[in-house]
């Protein structure tokens, strides 16, 4: 055991300069003062996005925004009303009412598909659960505004109208 090489790490804080405490305080104050003066001279140095006037540019294609329902190649709804998303949803904000599909494309489709955004926690479980890639959260909408509670319930028509954000590269 004697041959094990050990490295002794010096303990800081015992020199007189460090025990005086004031030099370190002045050092810290110098750092903050340099930041203050830099920003006072030119407010363009501030590392902020002036939000409502300037939109954020760092929203990637993996960002979970407001949901949308996707279309098939012929333009009809892709959803088959299998209730997988509603089952996976932890906040139980998806309400589906299924009907029989008569146009021969598939057997089932939703008559109603409502998402209550006031309940939704934007976890993305519904997107993960969907077997048909029928629901996605790639609209890039990060701010959703309404004046009534009813405004926040997205119906099937509204969900179908949402599109993939144009800022995302495919």
């Amino acid at each position: 055991m004697k041959n094990i090489k050990t490295k002794i790490i010096p303990r800081n804080g015992n020199s007189i300069k460090e025990k005086l405490y004031l030099p370190a305080i002045f050092g810290g104050m110098k750092v903050t003062f340099s930041h203050f003066m830099k920003n006072l001279k030119d407010t363009d140095n501030l590392r902020v996005v002036w939000y409502p006037e300037e939109k954020p540019k760092d929203i990637t294609s993996r960002y979970r925004g407001v949901h949308r329902l996707t279309h098939r190649d012929d333009g009809s709804i892709r959803c088959v009303a299998c209730f997988m998303c509603a089952t996976a949803c932890p906040s139980e904000c998806i309400f589906i009412k299924a009907v029989e599909r008569t146009d021969g494309v598939d057997e089932k489709m939703p008559k109603r598909f409502d998402i209550d955004l006031l309940e939704c926690v934007f976890c993305g479980e519904c997107v993960e659960a969907c077997p048909c890639d029928a629901i996605r959260m790639d609209t890039g909408i990060f701010s959703f505004i309404g004046k009534k509670r009813e405004d926040f319930i997205l119906t099937k028509d509204k969900l179908l109208k949402n599109e993939r954000s144009k800022d995302f590269d495919d």
Partner: protein, 427 residues
């Protein structure tokens, strides 16, 4: 009671109210903007009245207005409603009383009579400061106790413990200054600091006694419960501390009282250690005999500073969106500054050429000294804010260790050494 005396007294009271209560929105604004700039963010800059933002100052007025008009709730579990309501007033009251012994300028001499520019022209001076600033702890401890809330009680306990522990340090630092100056009257102390050391250094307290200055400033930070000693409101441990149960203007009074106390202790620090109202290198007599040179220097420097300020304002006070009312602010403010310059220069020229009576000279001297005092006061407040956004909070045992193990022996030794030195020199 002559008319001049009454008007001087009224002006004094107005100055105290404006500097203490009126200074609070400015200090809050300064705190938030400086904090923002130190952390590379902006701070309040949106709130405006018809496009006027004044760099975000309007936000503090909006906040104050909100606090005033909020419903004054009294928690139902509070048993001692009288003490609960009394506590914030004690804090505010003692802070304003502390402020009122500060001399804003040297004694005004009009028609051969001397008028003191202190609200309380009492010879107690610095002793009054020690007595009254210690009183504010009663407000805090009463708030903590009467809230019937364990966090409030802990906060009140911590605040009173730190304030009371640092009181001896403060008193001992003051004693050192009293030994040097030989008086407890604040105006006399400030006058003594207008002398020159070795003929070229202003004999300010910080140059005569740097150790006392450091201990006093540290104790003043602890006394006003500001960072790094703001254990009274450690959010992570005891919620809001002693003001957890307070809302609306009751909380507002604590808030205002805290800032007034900070301003008052800054004023005392300035008066004791930074030459008070003195302009550097210029005593009152020197200002009076060189008044025309000084006013010509002001006439030269004022437009220069205004030019650079307007340039800075045009560069930085812009709004990202076009056609916004906030974009017009800089132009109007620039016109206002130019107008102010013209009026002030015209007044100074009129005085210099036509109206050089002793009364006007002494009023102008008082104004100059008041300006210098206000600048120093805000500089010291800026140091308070700057330290707050630099240093983290002390742990409770570190706070007490620093006080009793390091600062107390240091200040006692300082008293002895200074006393021996003063006796040595005078003998």
């Amino acid at each position: 009671m002559s008319g001049i005396l009454i008007s001087v007294v009224i002006i004094n009271i107005l100055i105290v109210v404006i500097l203490s209560l009126g200074g609070v929105p400015v200090l809050v604004w300064l705190e938030r903007r400086v904090a923002g700039f130190i952390q590379d963010r902006s701070g309040p800059n949106r709130c405006n009245i018809a496009g006027f933002r004044l760099g975000g100052l309007i936000q503090s007025f909006a906040d104050m207005l909100k606090l005033v008009f909020k419903e004054d709730l009294l928690p139902s579990h509070v048993k001692n409603k009288f003490y609960f309501s009394l506590a914030p007033t004690i804090v505010l009251f003692s802070s304003i009383l502390t402020f009122s012994i500060i001399p804003f300028a040297d004694n005004l001499i009009i028609n051969g009579k001397s008028y003191s520019l202190q609200v309380l022209p009492m010879s107690l001076g610095i002793i009054w400061f020690l007595a009254i600033s210690g009183l504010s702890v009663y407000g805090i401890i009463l708030a903590g106790w009467s809230s019937d809330n364990k966090y409030s009680l802990l906060g009140g306990l911590r605040a009173s413990a730190s304030t009371i522990s640092y009181e001896p340090i403060m008193a001992l630092s003051v004693i050192v200054m009293l030994i040097i100056y030989g008086t407890i009257d604040l105006n006399d102390i400030v006058i003594k600091q207008s002398a020159l050391l070795f003929g070229f250094i202003p004999a300010w307290g910080i140059i005569l006694q740097p150790i006392a200055a450091i201990t006093f400033i540290v104790a003043a930070f602890a006394e006003t419960n500001r960072t790094p000693f703001d254990l009274a409101e450690g959010e992570s441990e005891i919620v809001g501390g002693f003001h957890t149960e307070y809302g609306a203007m009751k909380f507002g009074l604590f808030f205002v009282g805290e800032y007034v106390a900070m301003s008052a202790s800054s004023a005392v620090i300035v008066a004791l250690f930074f030459g008070g109202y003195n302009l550097p290198w210029l005593s009152t007599d020197a200002i009076k005999s060189n008044i025309s040179i000084i006013s010509y220097v002001i006439i030269f420097l004022l437009p220069l500073f205004s030019y650079f300020f307007i340039k800075w304002m045009y560069k930085n006070n812009k709004w990202k969106k076009e056609n916004d009312a906030r974009n017009k602010e800089s132009k109007i403010l620039a016109k206002g500054i130019i107008g102010f310059n013209v009026v002030l220069i015209a007044l100074l020229l009129y005085f210099n050429l036509l109206l050089k009576t002793p009364n006007v000279i002494s009023v102008l001297t008082a104004l100059l000294q008041f300006g210098s005092f206000v600048i120093k006061l805000f500089m010291m407040n800026l140091v308070y804010i700057w330290v707050r956004w630099t240093l983290p909070r002390f742990r409770y045992d570190q706070l007490q260790t620093l006080c009793w193990k390091y600062l107390l022996p240091l200040s006692i030794a300082n008293v002895f050494v200074t006393a021996v030195a003063v006796v040595w020199i005078s003998a």
